[in-house]
Symmetry: C2
DNA sequence: TATATGTGCAATCAATCGGTTTCGCAAATG
DNA sequence: CATTTGCGAAACCGATTGATTGCACATATA
């Protein structure tokens, strides 16, 4: 079972959950209140998010508080950064070409 | 059919294709050479990436060159930025709380 | 013109996804 | 001690996914 940040954020409900928990930890019921789906459906999303370590559980009596593990989002950030660097390098090469054309034009 | 950047980058092959094309435009066959799957499978990924406007086709004779539309990745960047801002705000609040505790301690 | 090449598209299939319903269990509450 | 509450797990279901295979159709090439 593939379980990474990329697959986790593919679902809009999960993205919304991440945003919710970015503000502060919540229990499953509290989270489910924000959505139209059942608590169980939300619970499934929480399981997926926990499995790929985006969320962390904190048991308090019979309640479970889901916390965000912000560090995991770095995986996404890293990939995006890598992509942007590749693009930047490409534009640098383009700049070089343009520069060469310019100097030849003289 | 959901077709957004988030769903597009959920698949590892598609992420690899994006990275490939970040370096420069390629034809489907050239792209498929980099993977173990069939050309048709790659072609499907290209269709998905094109549908959500991450890729743009450029016909040249019987060849099709797939270009990256780097701008589309902004959707992802925006979401990530929004997330980071929420987290930052939370830490600001935490700072405030700590500040209050400190002044009370005096 | 006959053949090879580059490509998209449709049919098909097993696997996965996201949802609901039902259940079980431990912790709070009366 | 009985009941309510908060939660996860399992069974099930239709829809979607990612892959393969086979085909059609243009454009090059001999």
């Amino acid at each position: 079972m593939r379980r990474d940040v990329f697959q986790a954020i593919a679902d809009p409900t999960r993205r919304a959950i991440i945003m919710l928990l970015a503000v502060g930890a919540l229990t499953p019921n509290a989270i489910a209140d924000h959505f139209d789906t059942s608590r169980q459906a939300v619970s499934k999303h929480l399981r997926i998010l926990t499995e790929c370590e985006i969320l962390v559980q904190e048991q308090q009596g019979r309640e479970i508080h889901y916390h965000l593990n912000a560090g995991k989002m770095k995986d996404l950030e890293k990939w995006l950064e890598q992509f942007k660097q590749l693009m930047a390098k490409r534009f640098d090469q383009l700049d070089t070409v343009l520069e060469q054309l310019k100097s030849k034009g003289k």
